[in-house]
Point group: C2
Chain length 226, copies 2
């Protein structure tokens, strides 16, 4: 069933990783894929551009269906393979609302993490400002506190949207995994770090772990002084 | 049915507007609501904070279910009232994939529009740089070209994800409406402007049109030199 699927991806890209976790959870192992190097700009290749005018990864194709936005691909997979593998969107309206809420809140965490951890990547050299980076850090600290509070309130051993692993975890885990890797002080988000420990060996996550993270488990320490 | 719904909102906020369009499309008129003034910082009030730790609007409650992220609220409403009003997410997998794809791509258009139109709002005075604003403009122009191309390819009279009005339109229209309002040159996105004309009088959109836009149809000309 996964034979007619093709994923173009980059190692360590959270949007790619979440699609790969969803594929694992939906028991769609065996999909075709091509690992592209960001450093070599391989994601800008013609093969990707033909399917994705943004020339970004993930670029995902299932039969004739192309769906490249990571959340779109995740929701599509859940809908197309609803009864296969893990149910990632629950039926109960209250549970469903919380899953959606956390899924889309992840954007905040993602953007704020990027704006600190990859500040130098996104802001050209002549435009970098201590005041801006300081503000970004404060904003990220506040965001982490919010997420840590969510987990605290849900209780020990909880997933992001309750007692079961859901699409909220698929979407958010790849962001959370950056915090220990980039040396974020544990006290900034102790509950998130427990959550990370609980999930990092889950089969879907382990199977899709970024290969260059396996080679070099420690990343740069851009979150050290948070 | 809508009597046990409560929406806190701000006039002209695209995330609020999209929830209001969804409510109209799902025939949920009659929901309770409270219009809050951004200028007076009313969205930071205790009433909102009690439901939304981000102190943002939209803040939306249905019975005991609170769902504040605009896309989460939209998907929740579609799921909870699937057979009522307009079907906003089609059943057909290929159609569904395109609806999701355009829904989530909207984030790009939204952020790039904000980074030009509201540059002075987001960047403190001492940090503003011509080089950054210029880059933001180029990025927005490229983004508009992409969306215009999507519509061009779909053919005259098409909605964002095909021949029917879907969640893609609910999510994206409130962003597109800023372009004519903020004096974006028509030639930057002629197909989008035709799409805007086609949709602006749709009942759900007209009923939820930002009240301060009705009072003052022309906004500042921050997109004039795009």
């Amino acid at each position: 069933m996964a034979q007619n699927m093709m994923l173009y991806w980059g190692s360590g890209s959270p949007p790619c990783w979440r699609v790969m976790i969803a594929l694992e959870e939906k028991m769609l192992q065996g999909y075709k894929h091509k690992l592209l190097s960001f450093e070599k700009n391989e994601h800008k290749c013609e093969e990707v551009k033909a399917l994705n005018p943004r020339a970004q990864v993930p670029t995902f194709k299932h039969g004739d269906i192309v769906v490249n936005e990571s959340l779109a691909a995740c929701l599509y997979l859940e809908s197309a393979f609803k009864s296969q593998g893990t149910r990632l969107i629950p039926d109960d309206p209250a549970e469903q609302a919380l899953v959606y809420q956390r899924m889309f809140e992840t954007n905040n965490l993602q953007q704020k993490m990027y704006e600190v951890a990859f500040y130098e990547h996104y802001v050209p050299e002549g435009e970098r400002l201590e005041s801006a980076l300081k503000r970004n850090k404060e904003s990220l600290v506040a965001e982490l506190k919010l997420w840590d509070g969510y987990l605290e309130k849900m209780g020990k051993g909880s997933y992001l949207a309750g007692k079961s692993f859901t699409m909220a975890d698929v979407v958010c885990f790849p962001i959370i995994a950056f915090f220990p890797r980039l040396h974020c002080p544990r006290e900034r988000c102790p509950r998130l770090m427990e959550y990370y420990e609980m999930l990092k060996d889950r089969p879907s996550i382990k199977a899709s772990w970024p290969p260059h993270w396996l080679e070099k488990p420690e990343g740069p320490d851009t979150l050290k002084n948070l």
